[in-house]
């Protein structure tokens, strides 16, 4: 059984800091894999290695049977992995529609300008931003910019979507909407790999979860398994809210 | 000693002045992430400043370095408020263009006042003779002045409160502000010091070689090369890298025409930028 994404023994250091140490995991097709861990655990760094922004010193990454270790981000999105950023990166001077059009033009779909624009309108409908298509991206709220990141990534027609803290800074209503959207995305056939701090959300959404701490994989399993893992609880110790959430068995 | 040796020692001395100039550029770059394109024009103003002072007062030029420093500081503060303050947060393109426009204006006014004819500061210290070669006293004095000023800067940045405030802002502006440091004050002063250093290095150059209003451009290029070689932030790194550049020039000038030097420096600049983005001595460039 070959996984959609296979990550084996990946390590990344910055000077004296080992940000990611010998991490291995896989993502099945159609799966939502959650990635959690305390701040500074190396989650975004791991994302950056998977999508080519950083080159790991060790390890291999295989996607849909192809070795993508060390490829540049533009090649990786062509192969089918798109991502959003924790700190949003809208193309500020361009409109919402243009932003998403860029995603469609240069992603895996690699559409021509007109098709990309049409596809972009469809994506904006899906994420519920169609009425805001022509406003400049810089004038969106944080929630809007986050949704734009997702729309832009979707326009690339990825097989795997990397979501980096897409719920941070959102109100409970916005969180609920985003959760619905992520489910819709997976139901549409796109696998999801997501970093999240909003425990309840990620417990609800994920089929499986990987836990990182100090760059190392601490645990891996279903949400229930992970919530019960004593090492995970200890890692989050001191954060009583999370410990509480973990000990509640969420369905 | 051989001719090349002598040329290299000379180059070493002149290089200390390159290092001094580069310190000014590097300080501004490190503190506010602005590439100061008035640098060359300010060096030229330093040359003319020394010339005018020397002709007005006929004192030892090395004493006149002090008023040049003071003028540089004030001029720097003026330039900061005129062209940098508004664009500090904006994309780097904007500060490039704004400092650049001030450069154009200064060169324009300078050309109107002094045309492009060469000028000279006629002052010679007695040289030192070793074997068949004489090292001019001016070169030796310039080196001394550069080292003293560099030491002064180092002391200021590491052992005084304003200096530490400047380093704090260079490190992390938001954190520094949260700690109560007025970043506007710091940026203003840092820019002032940067310009003062540029002017004083120009003043020193005026005692070494003839100059025109356009001479600053060549030294600006050298400053960029030195800053990239040294990485940002450490004054002594810039001084060392300047000396290195001077040595290199000294080793090469006996063999090739002077007009090739800017080309070689450009090549060096690009190569270092591409292969050593962190510089050879210092921390990462912006």
């Amino acid at each position: 059984m070959s996984a959609l994404l296979q990550v084996d023994g990946v390590s990344k250091r910055f000077g004296g800091l080992q940000a990611v140490a010998d991490v291995s995991f896989h993502i099945e097709e159609g799966e939502i894999l959650g990635l959690i861990g305390p701040n500074g655990a190396g989650k975004t760094t791991l994302f950056n290695v998977v999508n080519g922004v950083y080159k790991g010193e060790k390890g291999t990454i295989t996607f849909a049977g192809q070795d993508i270790t060390g490829l540049t981000p533009d090649k990786i999105v062509h192969l089918g992995i798109a991502r959003t950023h924790q700190i949003v990166k809208p193309l500020a001077g361009m409109s919402v529609l243009e932003n998403v059009t860029v995603g469609g033009c240069f992603g895996r779909a690699y559409l021509g300008l007109r098709e990309a624009r049409e596809a972009a309108m469809e994506v904006l409908q899906t994420v519920g931003m169609a009425e805001r298509a022509n406003i400049p991206a810089r004038s969106l709220t944080i929630a809007g910019k986050k949704r734009l990141e997702v729309a832009r990534a979707l326009a690339a027609r990825p097989k795997l979507l990397l979501l980096d803290e897409v719920l941070a800074g959102l109100t409970p209503t916005e969180i609920a909407q985003m959760i619905q959207l992520v489910r819709k995305i997976r139901d549409g056939g796109i696998s999801v790999f997501m970093i999240e701090h909003v425990m309840q959300a990620i417990m609800q959404l994920s089929d499986r979860i990987v836990v990182l701490n100090f760059g190392q994989k601490l645990a891996e399993g279903t949400p229930t398994e992970v919530a019960r893992d004593p090492q995970v609880i200890e890692a989050y110790l001191g954060d009583s809210e999370i410990t509480e959430k973990l000990s509640e068995k969420t369905s | 000693m051989s001719g090349i040796m002598a040329s290299m020692i000379d180059g070493l001395m002149v290089g200390s002045v390159y290092g001094l100039a580069a310190m000014g550029l590097s300080l501004i770059w490190g503190v506010m992430d602005v590439i100061n394109l008035t640098h060359g024009a300010m060096i030229a103003l330093g040359m003319f400043g020394m010339y005018l002072l020397f002709h007005a007062v006929a004192m030892n030029p090395y004493v006149l370095l002090l008023p040049v420093l003071a003028i540089g500081l004030m001029l720097g503060i003026l330039v900061y408020w005129m062209s940098v303050h508004r664009v500090v947060g904006q994309p780097p393109l904007m500060s490039l263009l704004s400092t650049f426009s001030v450069n154009m204006m200064v060169i324009g006014i300078g050309t109107a006042l002094w045309s492009t004819s060469p000028y000279n500061v006629n002052f010679s210290l007695r040289g030192v003779t070793v074997g068949a070669y004489t090292f001019t006293g001016n070169h030796i004095a310039a080196t001394g002045a550069a080292v003293i000023i560099a030491l002064g800067l180092q002391m200021f940045l590491y052992h005084t409160r304003p200096g530490k405030a400047i380093r704090a802002v260079a490190d992390n502006r938001e954190a520094a502000e949260l700690m109560g440091i007025s970043s506007t004050m710091v940026l203003t002063v840092a820019f002032g010091i940067g310009i003062a250093l540029a002017m004083v290095s120009g003043a020193l150059v005026s005692t070494l070689f003839p100059f025109t209003i356009l001479s600053g451009a060549g030294y600006q290029l050298k400053s960029f090369v030195v800053t990239i070689l040294a990485g940002l932030g450490k004054p002594f790194g810039a001084l060392l890298a300047g000396v290195l550049l001077g040595l290199l020039e000294g080793a090469v000038t006996p063999f090739i025409a002077v007009s090739w030097i800017p080309l070689i420096e450009f090549g060096l600049f690009v190569v270092v930028l591409i292969f050593f983005p962190r510089g050879i001595f210092g921390r990462a460039t912006a």
């Binding site: 990166k89 860029v102 033009c105 | 664009v87």
Partner: protein
């Protein structure tokens, strides 16, 4: 599809104006004035591709013009090629040189790249000033019989003029076409956030190298034509740093990132400049005024005149590009 854009027809109208105006009374003085404007518009609209579209400041843009001039003049004067072929080959060769340099220096970001372009200018200037076959620092000049194939100096002058207008129109049309293309969208993305652009699938280094190379083509041809018309070239007039700087001022003044802005800025500034240069008191202050203008634009109106128009009348953004 660009034929449907109003801006396209504005460009053609502009070219028509340039052709027709000097025809009345065979006005050579007006022609000389307009040729300078046409060259400025050509240079500035190609510079716009780098600065306005991609967000990379090219300080040494004039190097393409000068190098094109040298290659063109050399081919006509020493190799006795005809003007059309020489100009075209000059354009191709300079674009190739630009591609080579570009692949090297375009790995550098923002400000570093800007500095490197000055270096390219200095390097090429230095090389040409020492290059024997091109006359080193004395340069080359064209003897009058070089104009015979075009029917003598008078007719050659007018032919060159029309060719330059053609190059100007092509430059503007090229900017319009790129602006509305997928390639252009990629450039704008790079301008907005290069890291995000790469993550979205744009190979930024290649895109930048390509546009740098494209931005060299028409200016090189313009250089070949202009120096042919002038009959002489040397390093100091081919690689005038000042012209590079003024190009930036013109672009910022008119409105970087827009097609019309490039032409507007070039036209207005050319007028200002010839006024300044002929006025006895102000000619020394030419550089000061240019610098002052640039500073004012950067501080208070970074979108230039067209940017200001867009803010005043948002609907104009769609129509006047």
């Amino acid at each position: 599809m660009i034929f449907r854009r109003l801006t396209f027809w504005l460009i053609l109208a502009l070219a028509a104006m340039f052709i027709i105006l000097p025809l009345r009374g065979n006005n050579a003085a007006l022609r000389e004035d307009l040729i300078l404007v046409a060259i400025a518009v050509t240079l500035v609209s190609n510079l716009n591709l780098m600065i306005g579209y991609t967000g990379y400041v090219n300080f040494g843009h004039i190097v393409f013009y000068g190098l094109g001039g040298y290659i063109g003049l050399y081919l006509v004067s020493e190799r006795h090629w005809n003007l059309f072929l020489s100009a075209f080959v000059a354009g191709v060769l300079v674009s190739l040189v630009a591609l080579l340099f570009g692949l090297g220096i375009l790995r550098l970001r923002g400000a570093y790249f800007a500095l490197a372009t000055i270096g390219v200018l200095v390097a090429v200037n230095g090389f040409v000033a020492n290059f024997n076959p091109w006359g080193r620092s004395t340069g080359m000049y064209l003897s009058f019989d070089a104009y015979q194939p075009l029917g003598g100096p008078m007719r050659a002058l007018w032919t060159t003029y029309y060719l330059i207008i053609g190059v100007m129109a092509l430059s503007l049309i090229l900017s319009l076409a790129i602006k509305r293309s997928k390639f252009g969208l990629g450039l704008f993305a790079i301008r907005e956030d290069e890291d995000a652009a790469v993550v979205l699938g744009i190979n930024a280094t290649v895109y930048k190298a390509i546009i740098y190379s494209i931005s060299a083509f028409l200016p090189a041809i313009a250089g070949a034509l202009m120096f042919y018309k002038n009959g002489m070239i040397d390093p100091s007039i081919a690689f005038e740093y000042m012209l590079s700087l003024e190009g930036i001022v013109m672009l910022m003044l008119g409105g970087q990132g827009t097609v019309v802005g490039a032409a507007l800025g070039a036209g207005l500034y050319e007028r200002l400049r010839s006024f300044l240069l002929t006025s006895p008191k102000l000619s020394n202050f030419h550089l000061v005024i240019a610098g002052g203008l640039l500073l004012l634009v950067v501080l208070f109106a970074s979108g230039g005149i067209i940017g200001w128009l867009y803010r005043l009348l948002p609907r104009s953004r769609e129509v006047i590009e």
